[in-house]
Chain length 116, copies 2
C-alpha cells in the first residue's frame, strides 16, 4: 500500500490536528495514533512534525496547553483548541474545497483509482 508523502499533505497537518482537538483535549502520542487510524495507515505523521506543529499553533493562539497526570501516573501535556483555532480550522476547510477544485483541473481524468 502506498503512503502519502509529506509534501502533498504538508498544508493539512495543522488542520488534521485541530480536527481531532475539536473532540476535546488530547496530547501528542494520542493525536499521532488517531491520525494513523483515521487515515487508515495511509498517513503517519512524524513525531517532530507533530510537536513542532503544537508549538507553532500554540504560539499562534490556535491551541492552549496544560499539564495533567494520567491514571498511570504519567505526566502529559494536553492541548485544547481555542476559538481562534476553531476559526482557523474552518477557514482551512473552505480552502480545502477550493484547492480540490483547482487541483482537479490538472489531474488526468482517465486514471483509475487503485485500491492498494
Amino acid at each position: 500500500m502506498s503512503v502519502i508523502s509529506s509534501d502533498v499533505i504538508r498544508g493539512y497537518n495543522d488542520t488534521m490536528i485541530l480536527y481531532l482537538l475539536r473532540n476535546g483535549p488530547s496530547y501528542g502520542y494520542e493525536i499521532s495514533k488517531k491520525i494513523r487510524e483515521l487515515s487508515e495507515e495511509k498517513y503517519l505523521i512524524k513525531e517532530t512534525t507533530l510537536y513542532s506543529a503544537f508549538s507553532r499553533m500554540e504560539k499562534n493562539g490556535f491551541i492552549e496547553s496544560f499539564q495533567e497526570t494520567a491514571d498511570n501516573g504519567k505526566k502529559r501535556t494536553y492541548y485544547r483548541i481555542t476559538s481562534a483555532g476553531e476559526s482557523y480550522y474552518l477557514d482551512k476547510c473552505e480552502e480545502w474545497y477550493l484547492t480540490k477544485e483547482v487541483v482537479e483541473h490538472f489531474i488526468s481524468q482517465g486514471i483509475e483509482m487503485h485500491k492498494d
Copy 2:
C-alpha cells in the same frame, strides 16, 4: 474571492506544470498564464517558484529544455515532458486521490461551500 495559499498547493506545482506540458512543449510565461486561467484566477504561481520548478524537474529528468525563437523574434526556453515525467505525473495523480480520501476524514462535513 479567496486565493489559494502556496502551502496547501505546494505538493502540486510540479503536477500542474507537467499536466500542461502533456499537451505539448511550452515555456514559463505561457505556463503561468495557463495555470491562472485553468484555476480560474484562484491560483497564481510565482515566477520564481515556476522557474525553480523547471530547473528541479529538468535535473530530475522529468522535463527537457530547448531554445527556440518565436515568430515575434523573442528567444524562449521551451520545455518538453519526458517519459519519466509522464510516469511521475501519473503517480502524482494517484497520490492525489489518496490524499483527497485522507484529508476528507479531517474536514468538517457541516461546512457549506461558498461560491465566492
